[in-house]
Every structure is written in C-alpha cells, then in structure tokens.
Amino acid sequence: MRLWSQIQSWMRAMAARTRMESDMDAELRFHIEAYAEDLERQGVAHEEAMRRAHIEFGGVERAKEECREARGVSFLETLLQDLRYGVRTLAKSPGFTTIAVLTLALGIGANTAIFNVVNATLLQPLPIREGSRLVVIWISNMGHGWSRIGPAGQDYLDWKEQSKSFDDLFMFEHGTGTVTAPGEPEQVAGLRVTTNFGDFFGIKPVLGRTFRLEEGAGRHNYAVLGYGYWQRKFAGDTTVVGRGMTLNGEQYTIIGVLPADFAALFPADLVVPFDREWIKRADSDLGVFGRLKPGGTLKLASGEMSVIAGRIANARPTRKGFGVVLVPLQDVRVEYLRPALLVLLGAVGFVLLISCANVGNLMLARSIARQREVSIRIALGAGRLRLIRQFLTESTILALLGGGVGALLALWSTHLLAILVPSRIPVPNAADKVTLPGIHMSGKAFALTIVVSLLTGIIFGLIPALQSLHCNVNETLKEGGRGFVSSLRGNSTRATLVIVESALAFVLVIGAGLMIKSFWHLLQANPGFRPDHLLTLRIKLPADAKDSQYREPRKQADAFQRFLSSVEGLPGIQSAAFTEIVPLSQDDMDMGYFVVKENPPLAPGEHLAADYRDITANYFATMGIPLIKGRIFSEQDNLDRPHVVVIDETLARRFFPNEDPIGKHLQVPDTTRPAREIVGVVGGVRDTGFDQQPRPTIYFPSLQSPDQTMSLVVRTSMPRGAILPAIKNAIWSVDKNQPVFDVKSMDEVIAGNVSAQRLAFLLLGVFAFLALALAAIGIYGVTSYLVSERTHEIGVRMALGAQPLDVSRLVLSHGAKLVGIGVFAGAVAALALTRVLTNLLFGVSASDPWTFVGVGLLLIVVAVVASYIPARRAMRVDPMVALRYE
C-alpha cells in the first residue's frame, strides 16, 4: 500500500510538473506574440516583428529557469533533474563509467561473497535452544601435550554428580553402525547419547519422540532417525515410527525422527541411547556438553571444574595430571575456519577501500576535467550546495550500478565459495567434525551490499564535490578552462589516494605472498610417507551383534587378514595394508601410556605417553614409511608368538636418546601380558596435521592387537573408478554382508586437512591480484593525468634540449616515487597486520624479509609498467605542437 501511495505522489508531481511547464511555455509565447503583433501594427513586417520581440524579451530558457526557481522546486524534481543529468553525463563517457562500475563491482561483490561465508559460518546461531550457553568439556594433560581429549564415562558421571555450574550435562559418542535390515547392508553414521538428549537440546522431533530420561537406567534398543537418513532410507515415510531395524545384528525399534536443521549440529543417521552400565564401561574419547546455568560464566564453571578435576585425580590415580578444558560450543565449531575467515574479511575490506580510492581518483580526475563546466554553472548562478548534490547524485548512481553488478558477481562467486569452503570441518584435537550449513546469498548480505554501495558513493562523491568548492570561477574562465587554482590541491589529493592505494595493495600482496609461501611449504612438507596414489577406505566388522562371527578378537584379526589377501591379489594393486588410523585423517585418536621395562621405575604420577597404531605387516611398505633400524612386522607376529612393537624415530630420540632401542621392552598398561620387545624403528609421520611435528608413536601388529574397525590403504596407479569396484568385490568375496565406507584418496584426506589454509591461500591470492590490478589502474590514471597537464612543460624541456629518455624518466620516477612511499607505509602496516596470519602460516615468519622485499619490488615494477604508457606518450610530445597548442 505504501509503495502504491508513493507511486501516486510521484505521478502527481510529474503531472503537475508537465502542466506547469506547458503553462509557462504558453504564457511566454503569448507575451512574445502579443508584442510582435503590436510591432506589426506599427508597420513592422511579421518576420522582423517576431525577431525583435524575441530579442527584446531576452533569453527564454533563462527566464524559464528563473521562473522555476521562483516558484520553488520540489526535492523530488531536483532529484529527477540530477538523476537525468547524472545518467546523461555518465552515458557520455562510457569508458569512465565502465571502469568505475567494474571497479566498484569487484570491491562490493567480493565483500558480499565473503560476508555470505562469514554469515553462514560465524554468525549463524546453533539450531538449538539457547545454543550460546552450551560448552564443550574436554580433559587435558599438558604434560603429554594433550590439549583436548574426550573424557571417559566415569568422568561424566563424576562431573554430573559434583558440578553445580551447569543446568545439565550431556554425553555422546560418534560411531558407525552396520544396518542390515531393512534394505541392503550399509554402514551408517551413528551417535550414542545420554537419554537427556531431547531435553538438553530442546529438540522437537518431526515424528514420534526422543528418549525418556528414565530409559537410561537399563538397556533399550530404541533408535531415533536423522532427518536426512529418514529421507534417504525411508523416503520420508511418516509411518516409520514403531518399525524395527537391524543395527549391528540387534533388533531396534524406531521411535522418532529428528528435525532437519539438527544435522547442522550432529550429522548422524541414527541416534541410540547410552544406558548407565554402558556409560561406566565407556573409557575414552567421549564428547561432553554442558549447559551453563543462566547467569553462569565460563570462568566460574572452569574454576569449579578444575577443583572437581583435582578431587577426581585423588580418587582415581589414572587421572593424575589431567585438567579440564571448557570452550563454548559456538567457538569450537568455527575455530578452525575463524582465523582464515577473519583474515579474508579484512582483506576484502582492503579491496573495497582500494576500489573506493580508485573511483574517487577517477571522479577527481573527471571533476578537474569538468572544471570549466562547473565554473560556468557557478557563474550562471548555480549554488554550491546544489553542485555538491549533483556530484553526490552522480557518484551514488555509479555506486548503485557498481553494487548491482557486484551483487551479481557475489551471487555467482558465492556458488564457487560454497564449493571451496569445506562442508565438514575438523575440530582440532577432538576427533570430531562439524558440518557447516550451506552457504548461499542471504538477504542480510544483500542489504549490506546496498548500504556499502551507498556509503562508498557518498564517500568518493564527496571528494570531488568538496574540491569543486575551491573552484575560482574567474580564474578558470580566464585561463580558458585549463588552469584551476586548486589543481595543485587536486593533484596532492590524487597522489595521496595513490599512496594509500599502494600501501593497502602492499599489505594484501604481502598477506597473499606469505600464504603462498606457507602453502608451498605445507605441500612440500614431508608428512613422513608418500601420499600419492594412495586410496583409503574403512571397514567395521559387525562384532557387537550377538551371533556375529567376529565376536572373538582372533576372528577379527583373521577377517582383516583375509580381506587383505583378497585385495592384494587384484591386478593393479602394488601394495595394500590395514591400519587402525589413516594419518592426517583425524578420523580417530588412540593414545596411551607405556613404561620402558629396562629403565628404573618412574615416579608415581609420572607417565610416558605415545600414540598407538595397530597395523598389518605391509603397512610401512604401502605407505612408504622408511625403516630406520631393525625389522618391520611379518605375518608371523601373531597371538601365538612373543609380542613385539615397532617405534618411530620421534619416540626413539626422545626416550632412548643415547641407546639402541632395539631389544628393549615396552610395557603398556592395559594388559597383564608380558612386555613387548621393540624390533624396529621407522620414520616419524605427521599424523595430526602437516603443520604439526611427528609425535612419539608405537606400532602394534594387528594380529597381536586386533580392532573392530580398520582402514584399508592401497597403493595403486589405477584410477579410483576402475579399482574401487574390484576392491569392494574382493572384500565381498570374503563376506558379502560387509559394508565399506569413507572411501577417500590420500589426496582428499590431505585436502581436508589443509582446507582452511587452502581457502585463505586461494582467496587472498585472488584479492591480492585484484588489489594489484586496481592499484595499477590508479597509478596509470594519475600518471597520465600528470603527463597531459604537463604537456606544455615537457614541450619546453624538449625544446631546451631534454632527451625523450629524460622525459620518460621524469614520468616514471613520479609513479615510482608515489608507490615507493606507499610501499614504505604499507610495510609498516603489514608488519603490524600480518601477525593475525600467524595461525595460518607454516614454515614462514609473519615478517618474512624475502616476501617483504619481493613484494616491494613487485609493486615498484607494477608502478613502472603502469606509468610506462603515459611515459611513452610524454616521450612523443612534439615541442612545436605542445607550445603552439598552448
């Protein structure tokens, strides 16, 4: 309705305006004609009478303009007039308009796109009730370098009993389950939760219900379906509640379906409940969330939990040296991407500033070229405020055009970004992953685009508008439109803009340079194995089921051995092995204590810790991990033979600094079995991340320490599409009910591991390139203006004997000097700003001198190249022409 009434008022104003205009025309025509008739009556010929009437009347247009002004002009009319005039002037110089609009579109579009990512990842609230009060609780043991590890079920029970900072505590465990009915056998992502699940998150199930608190007292085979799984497996069937399904060989009853948005928090297919006995049995790597009491702070809760941790350590010696770490869930979810995104947000801000400076510069150059026009208008009585309004209208039209094109660019690049930004991000050191919501163009981002466009329009429109205020009409007109009293001031403004621009560009290019160097280091970093041509997939034996053939550990080891020999026999497979955990995959964690049997006993409470890895004999060969000393495992290292281990060189160096570890024995705490003999030392592997150092690792032969879940690693030169069906068939030829999942090439695993750095590296690179290009345009603009302004001077110089080379040096040095100042200022700013990159950098210092020097030189080169075209024009100035022209 409001829109309609606005349109009506517009139309009324337009109608009134046209009637007014035609009235005015008629009135003035009547005057002139009446006068002419009087003249004719005095005997003047008609033609002559009309001519004289016109002359004596004076300027009709001017009279009309004054009439309009006398009558008082509405705001709307001025706006329309300004708009029409603005559009006309912009259309008259399509080159300028195109460059300005594109420059702005790049700046605004890039900002909108990055804002879309930030909005989707950092600003989106959790899809749960009062998500801001949720904290993740880990245990830590800084003595072993474990900053965050999942607690045990007993920790959860103790915390729940003793803490008063929380409304409630919730525990969960990620896992996979094998569903064999209904439908084909498949591996699903599962979540086991305490029965306060529904209430803790305030879940409103789409169908049925979640668990009841009291159901935690005993075993209940109830399952709640994830929304996606419900759609995928049951095609959204609303009668699914009450039906049965076979999970890990046991019968479960479906009791409900989760809402769709819950997948953003837990991307699980199935949710099943813990019971009290199970909680007590669960000994590690669990996830615990707490809901802070209203008004409670993280600090108070942390303090209380530390006190409780001390109490627990006294009661349970295995918890000696452990602390508790509390982090808000919101922060945990984005901490992996946050540094990269904040850096990018800053970087696009810089790009926008540079494009504003550039357009400001263009506008300024134009306003100087338009001084004659402005002077004439002032001389004819145009008010200065009116002129400023005109300039602002023009720049706002430009900015809105730029914003429009920018929004299109953003729409398009947001799609690209949605692909580039990892959809699942690892949570560091927590063996957990978070699924990010989809990234798309949001209304918020669109509103932001418009606001940013208007602001930029006003900012860079004001510069030339204020410049024009200094315009001295008489001087300008007297000098034939060439001189401008403030042209010196205009020049210094333009020079400042170029300096600022090159300083900003310098900072951006430094950031990109550091990221490129760092990423190069990352990719060059030796992970300790050969990552090429490796394919990985996981297999989980359904050993939990009552009638499973794999319930005995020995049978599990046998099964993997049989899978392995079946796969190894395939053509095109160079080598294959099973491992408990694929390096860099962050799929899981396994670590523990050990004691060197030959060494004197440790002080009570003191522990040696290492990562544990169960592998098959061929693992080192398949991965390309070098044997340094001793031997690797063989298939004879089974349960019937003496227990052996292989250690990595990190452990050897740290715990056997001056002795030969071969033949020494390691005692691991969880068994009463005899100590295991160290038979070999292999190279270290960067297991947790490219940017992490290898950690002390103990390898166990899987035949002597079987697992239920293992990953197959295959070295093959065949493409994945060709070899994968063969591998699956080989496994199914051993057990036709065995699902395989998590199929990934090692390259994909690595890509997931460096996704934040890759994102920062790629986008910073793009932004730096934009910044450089924009700065080059800015330098080019200033230099060519300088040349055209100094044509006379150059002509004189050349007439007096200056060589073309001298002239070009004059021009080039001007551009280089501006950029030189910019580079210096940029270097100072960059030294302060690149520190925010520290988290993202690997193997490069944030103040890497080579990058600084290199980028400085690059900018100077860009400045020289950008000044080269105007310099050539200056060299070709013909002194005769230049002087005559003046």
Binding site: F30, A34, Y35, F57, G58, V60, A63, A70
Partner: protein, 113 residues
C-alpha cells in the same frame, strides 16, 4: 524620448503589484501598463518580468487565472490578493519614507550641517 532609467533593484516587484492593483492584467499587459504610467521612462527587461510574477504568486501576493485576451487569445491574468494589497501599502509607505530621507540627505546644504 528621454533616456530610459534603469530600474532600481527590488522595485520591479512593487511596480508589478501597483500595476496589478489597477485591475486584472496578463504579463504583457502589466509591462505595457508600467511603461504607460511611467511614460516609457523606465527600462524593463521583458524576460525578468516573469520570474518576478512567479515569485510574487509563490509568496501569495498575486493570483493567476487563465482568461481570454482582447484579441481572443488564451492568456494568464494576474490579480492582487488581500495580502498583496497590504504589501503594496507598506511598500509604498516605505518607499516614500526612504525617498524623503534620501532626498533630505541629498538636498542638504553645507551650512545646514
């Protein structure tokens, strides 16, 4: 014909009000009437008449309406409003006082100081 006098700044409005006070007139008629009363001794820029008319109308001292001219053509006629009459009255008074003062000053002889 005597040499025409240039119009003093700000007096055109007053003359228009006076001319219009003698009866409704169109723009050209106002011009003619002023010239007639002044016996052609004032030089009036024809083009400047209309902005003044629009200004006076905008201020509410005169109103306009379309009517028919002597030679049967459509013309816009201006008429004094009540406010315009008051305005003309004060302007006339002011002008007379000002003219007295100025004349007094200019007529001063050295011995009178």
């Amino acid at each position: 014909m005597d040499k025409q006098l240039e119009l003093l700044q700000g007096t055109l409005d007053m003359l228009i009000l006076k001319a219009a006070s003698l009866g409704p007139l169109h723009g050209y008629g106002i011009l003619l009437r002023i010239q007639q009363i002044s016996k052609d001794r004032l030089e009036i820029q024809q083009g400047s008449l209309y902005p003044a008319l629009y200004r006076l109308e905008h201020q509410g001292w005169i109103t306009s309406a379309w009517g028919e001219s002597e030679n049967k053509r459509k013309a816009k006629y201006y008429q004094l409003t009540a406010a315009g009459k008051r305005r003309l009255h004060t302007e006339t008074e002011n002008w007379n006082r000002m003219a007295d003062v100025i004349a007094g000053i200019l007529g001063t002889k050295p011995e009178e100081v």
